[in-house]
């Protein structure tokens, strides 16, 4: 019987059902979209990697010194002479030396192709290797190149074109002699030279990045052991299976990081959606008080009432999850195009997105509807006979106590997380859980504070908008819980957006302050992508009139004192010319075997001037470096500076990542002259201090915008919530609206009344959100002062814009409910039961 009641109810209120389902749909779509996208990407990467090294049984490469990072560029190369020795190992067939390095193809517009994540690969052409010629012929000699067909098509290059290629060295101008079919590279670019050219440009003459070989019928594990026996120290042999797995797992790791990242935002959307669902069900229960009381009066048990409401939630969740899954598939196509991948391969559907969509969709709906369902069961049967029954409301005191405790507990958790306390091995977990608790706590407290805040916000309404204004303000105050829950949904999105903006703005301000403090150079010449500043560029810059110094800074990774570490490498002149160092002890005299560290490291390791520290470079060799000085933390150089001599001696193809330039004057003419000098180096960019700051700001802005876009989803869901609340309120107030129309309120006045109510709710949510966001942001900034986030900057103008946007959201959300209210038939409205 109760099932029938539930079903009838759903059928009778299709619109209501759909409105509730929308928030489920959007949240589920985000989850499903992320999962489908990840699955699809993984399959494409699998396809890509399965095509690589199919015939390789064993691969010989340098032992890894440093985990992670791009060891193809910094690792110790394999000497070509090893090839002969391997050929003599029993069972080895066709050993081939491979060269892999950095080679970026320059497009027709003078800009490097690719480089936003996927690698710009340079390789040697191996006959019978992974690359198949599509058109043309194999490269031979220094002036010839084969590029992958996909990149060629994208850039509009054909066989016979002379193109520019940027490598770790002087730019090259080879001619395309062939196009290779490299499969789907997903944004990576590939350039192949003949082996001697590749060695010279990408690595080191007489060396390979690795040597791969097939097997003459021997099991690859047996062969691996045989090969390993003849290898010199520092090299290792791995099976082909292992090699392919390694390549895959790097990408899989990246993908899973990206997937988790997106999932966090999907969960935020779901969390916001839960508020909407909770609110909608609360309102539905309130509207059906009499009906539910009647059911109770004729003998339905409390459990049955609860079950009927929960049953409705299951149905809404099911519908929402189903539609959300479909929308999610569309979303994943959109994601693909945003990432720059064409969806020609089609989407991959596994069971996971389907299962999770239903688990999340139905789960969230049921959990959110649980409290309203419980409340529904508490409706006394006598309510059926009375006209005006208020649902039993729990006292505000309990609410204040629980909300306050949640807020305080959440704040403490966040503080612990920001202070570096880990939970489950991650500081993000206490911070995230803490933020969640704060949101819930504030949402619980919101009804208490909504009264005064809405009264203040709406104070101007009666004066400016007359009676509709007064009624709008009162309507917003009418049900503080409802107003608060609606506003809370908007609060979450805006709080996170505000946090991101406060942090972004603080980062910008901190970086600018840091640049002023530490950057001594007039100009910086920086390499784009993974390339460096080669010697010809240094020469060109030095030759510019007015240039007094043009000195290279290097960066590298290795193991210092047995731990992975990044470091800068420079000689003393470059150091003092480029950076303003605040020395705490010792001097900058790095010499050939010196090292400097900042005071943090020095204290942590108890190092002093004169301490000797073993440093293992990525190439494998270990040097004993002497600490010559300590300096105050410096963002430009980082915590460690190694003598350039020591770095260059132990690094293949050492290339500076930045050139510090000091000039006699810093006017436009000098800048123009520098740019002219670097015209032949498309991979390099010259920046003065202002432009350097600007480029840093742009990177930060890019990140802030990206995060804001991801958070927009939760704001859209919140807007749907406002629509929902208003639409249901309009239905609930049908008779009141009828009365107002009867006594002469015009449609316009009625619409304005609803619009104003919507705006005040939206503004309340926005104010809460922005307030919390500023607190979150400044707390995070405080916690990260040591990491260089020294300046707190609250972007007041941006936040004001968000406040205005919230008002606009309010107006937009009210459009449909207001239209509906205005269209209501007066007579029907006043005679509705």
């Amino acid at each position: 019987m109760m099932v029938k009641v539930t079903l009838r109810n759903l059928a009778a209120h299709k619109l209501r059902l759909l409105l509730t389902a929308v928030s489920v749909i959007l949240g589920v779509a985000f989850v499903a979209g992320t999962l489908i996208f990840t699955d699809t990407m993984n399959r494409q990467f699998d396809d890509l990697f399965n095509g690589i090294g199919q015939n390789v049984a064993v691969d010989v490469r340098a032992k890894k010194v440093v985990d992670g990072g791009d060891e193809t560029i910094t690792a110790r190369p394999v000497p070509a002479t090893l090839l002969e020795r391997l050929r003599r190992v029993d069972g080895v067939k066709d050993p081939v030396g491979n060269v892999t390095g950095y080679a970026a193809i320059v497009g027709k517009d003078g800009k490097l192709l690719g480089g936003q994540g996927p690698p710009q690969l340079g390789v040697n052409w191996v006959p019978g290797g992974d690359l198949d010629l599509k058109t043309g012929r194999a490269p031979s000699g220094p002036g010839e190149i084969v590029i992958d067909a996909e990149t060629a098509e994208r850039a509009g290059y054909r066989v016979g074109d002379q193109i520019q290629v940027v490598v770790n060295g002087p730019p090259q101008r080879p001619r395309i002699v062939g196009l290779a079919d490299a499969g789907h590279l997903m944004g990576a670019t590939m350039a192949a030279f003949d082996t001697p050219t590749a060695q010279r440009l990408l690595l080191k003459p007489g060396y390979f990045s690795d040597i791969s070989m097939a097997s003459a019928g021997v099991d690859e594990r047996v062969l691996r052991d045989r090969v390993a026996a003849v290898l010199p120290a520092g090299y290792e042999a791995v099976t082909g299976t292992q090699m392919r797995e390694d390549a895959k797992s790097d990408v899989a790791q990246l993908m899973s990081f990206f997937s988790i990242f997106l999932m966090v935002f999907a969960l935020i959307s779901i969390f916001v959606g839960a508020f909407i669902i909770f609110n909608t069900f609360s309102m539905l229960v309130a509207q059906r008080t009499r009906e539910l009381a009647l059911l109770r009066a004729i003998g339905a048990a409390r459990r049955q009432i609860t079950r009927a409401v929960i049953g409705e939630a299951v149905a809404v969740g099911f519908v929402g999850a189903t539609l959300g899954l479909a929308v999610g598939a569309g979303l994943s196509v959109l994601l693909q195009s945003v990432v720059g991948i064409d969806g020609s391969g089609g989407l991959v559907f596994t069971a996971m997105p389907v299962i999770w969509s239903y688990v999340v969709g139905i789960g969230v709906t049921v959990v959110s509807a649980y409290f309203p369902a419980r409340r529904a069961a508490k409706i006394p049967p006598v309510a059926a006979m009375r006209d005006d029954v208020a649902l039993p409301q729990r006292s505000m005191r309990i609410r204040i106590a629980v909300g306050g405790a949640l807020t305080a507990g959440g704040a403490v958790l966040m503080a612990l997380g920001l202070g570096g306390v880990e939970l489950g091995g991650n500081v993000m977990i206490p911070i995230g859980v803490g933020a969640l608790a704060v949101f819930l706590g504030v949402a619980m407290l919101a009804p208490v504070i909504s009264g005064p805040v809405v009264r203040v916000l709406g104070a101007v309404y009666p004066r400016v908008f007359g009676t509709p204004g007064r009624m709008a303000q009162r309507n917003a105050l009418r049900n503080p819980r409802r107003t608060a829950a609606t506003a809370a949904a908007l609060m979450i999105g805006l709080a996170l957006v505000t946090t991101v903006n406060v942090l972004g703005s603080s980062m910008r301000a901190s970086v600018n302050a840091e640049i002023d403090k530490v950057l001594g150079a007039d100009y910086l010449v920086e390499a784009q992508g993974q390339g460096g500043v080669d010697a010809t560029a240094v020469k060109a810059v030095t030759a510019v009139p007015g240039v007094e110094q043009a000195l290279p800074l290097y960066q590298g990774n290795g193991k210092i004192n047995g731990k992975n570490a990044w470091f800068a490498a420079a000689d003393e002149a470059a150091l003092t010319a480029g950076a303003r160092l605040e020395m705490k002890s010792g001097s900058t005299r790095l010499g050939t075997d010196g090292m400097m560290v900042d005071t943090d490291i020095a204290e942590a390791r108890n190092w002093q001037v004169g301490t000797v520290v073993p440093v293992q470079f990525a190439g494998g060799a270990t040097e004993r470096l002497r600490i010559v000085g300590t300096y105050a933390p410096n963002q430009l150089l980082g915590p460690r500076v190694v003598a350039a001599e020591a770095f260059k001696k132990n690094t293949v193809n050492p290339t500076p990542f930045v050139l510090v330039v000091n000039t006699a004057s810093t006017d436009a003419a000098t800048m123009a002259a520098l740019e002219r000098a670097l015209a032949g180096h498309p991979g390099l960019e010259v920046r003065d201090q202002a432009a350097f700051k600007e480029s840093m700001s742009q990177q930060i802005d890019g990140l802030v915008n990206f995060l804001t876009v991801l958070l927009t989803m939760s704001i859209i869901i919140a807007a749907v919530g406002v629509i929902n609340t208003l639409a249901l309120s309009v239905i609930e107030r049908t008779r009141e609206i009828g009365l107002l129309r009867a006594v002469g309120v015009s449609r316009r006045q009625l619409r304005r009344m609803i619009r104003l109510e919507s705006v005040v709710i939206a503004l309340f949510g926005a104010l809460l959100g922005i307030g919390i966001g500023v607190l979150f942001g400044s707390a995070t900034q405080r916690a990260l002062v040591d990491q260089g986030l020294t300046v707190l900057s609250v972007p007041v103008v941006t936040l004001a814009v968000y406040l205005v946007l919230a008002a606009v959201i309010g107006v937009l959300a009210a459009l449909w409910p207001a239209w509906r209210a205005g269209r209501m038939d007066v007579l029907k409205a006043i005679s509705v039961e």
Binding site: D387, G466, T467, P468, R478, L740, R741, A742, V743, G744
Partner: protein, 264 residues
């Protein structure tokens, strides 16, 4: 234009022909179509004289509420003409109709008369506030004192009894001095004492302030407060009665319960 039977002959002509606050001429109203077709009003012609208290009576389904809704501009008619003063309602669009209701008509409904978020005083001045007009202070004071609600003006409707709520509704209807007030079963939800208070108040406003009131009711005791009673059955006016008493009205009403009595 002379007012026509039956109102002419039976005493409604007393204040003088032509001085009518509202008129209905040959109006018909049909709901549904085919088998479900119901003729709610079947060529009703009626004049509401100014400064009088007119009651419209009839059994359930006689069309009395429909007649009132149509005359008040809340419902549309299928044929005929409705005038309030000299304004023909059929020709007005929603905007003008709304303005007419706001400025020239007052309403008292059976229930749910007040906006729950507004205080009693705010409810009383609501139509004028919407119009952006200043209420006439003296008049307002007089109305408030007449309904006897001065100590309760700051209360919300939920803090008032049913009788008090209806008195606030009456005060609202009176406050803007409309040409005509339509009351739809104003005492339907009240006990007899509160009902008598409200009805007495309505009658006094006609006698002392010269207000025009049309009231729909099915309660003979309520109808007895009116100056004239118009009887409606099956969408037609079947009788009128001047100076009604509860007994006379009840007697007349009994006739409707018999099948075919209306055609007699």
């Amino acid at each position: 234009m002379t007012h026509t039977a039956p109102t002419t002959d039976e005493g409604l002509a007393a204040p003088g022909a032509g001085d009518l606050a509202a008129r209905a001429q040959q109006i018909t109203k049909v709901y549904g179509s085919g088998d479900a077709r119901v003729v709610a009003l079947d060529g009703v012609t009626l004049g509401i004289p100014r400064g009088r208290f007119t009651a419209i009576m009839g059994p359930s389904g006689s069309g009395k509420s429909t007649l009132m809704h149509c005359m008040a501009g809340l419902d549309s008619i299928d044929s005929g003409t409705v005038l309030i003063g000299d304004v023909e309602l059929n020709r007005l669009d929603d905007k003008r109709l709304t303005r007419l209701r706001r400025d020239r008509v007052g309403f008292v409904f059976q229930a749910f008369n007040l906006v729950p978020t507004l205080t009693a005083l705010e409810n009383i001045t609501l139509p004028m506030d919407i119009a952006g007009r200043k209420p006439d202070r003296q008049w307002l004071d007089r109305v408030i004192d007449t309904v006897g609600l001065r100590p309760r003006l700051g209360h919300r409707p939920s803090q008032l009894s049913g009788g008090q709520q209806q008195r606030v509704a009456c005060a609202r209807a009176l406050a803007s001095r409309p040409e005509i007030i339509f009351a739809d079963e104003p005492t339907g939800n009240l006990d007899s004492r509160s009902g008598a208070e409200v009805l007495g108040f309505l009658r006094d406003s006609v006698r002392e302030m010269g207000q025009t009131i049309v009231m729909v009711t099915h309660d003979p005791a309520a109808a007895a407060y009116a100056d004239e009673v118009v009887f409606l059955a099956d969408g037609r006016i079947v009788d009128t009665m001047a100076a009604p008493t509860a007994e006379k009205v009840l007697e007349r009403m009994k006739g409707f319960d018999l099948p075919g009595a209306t055609s007699a």
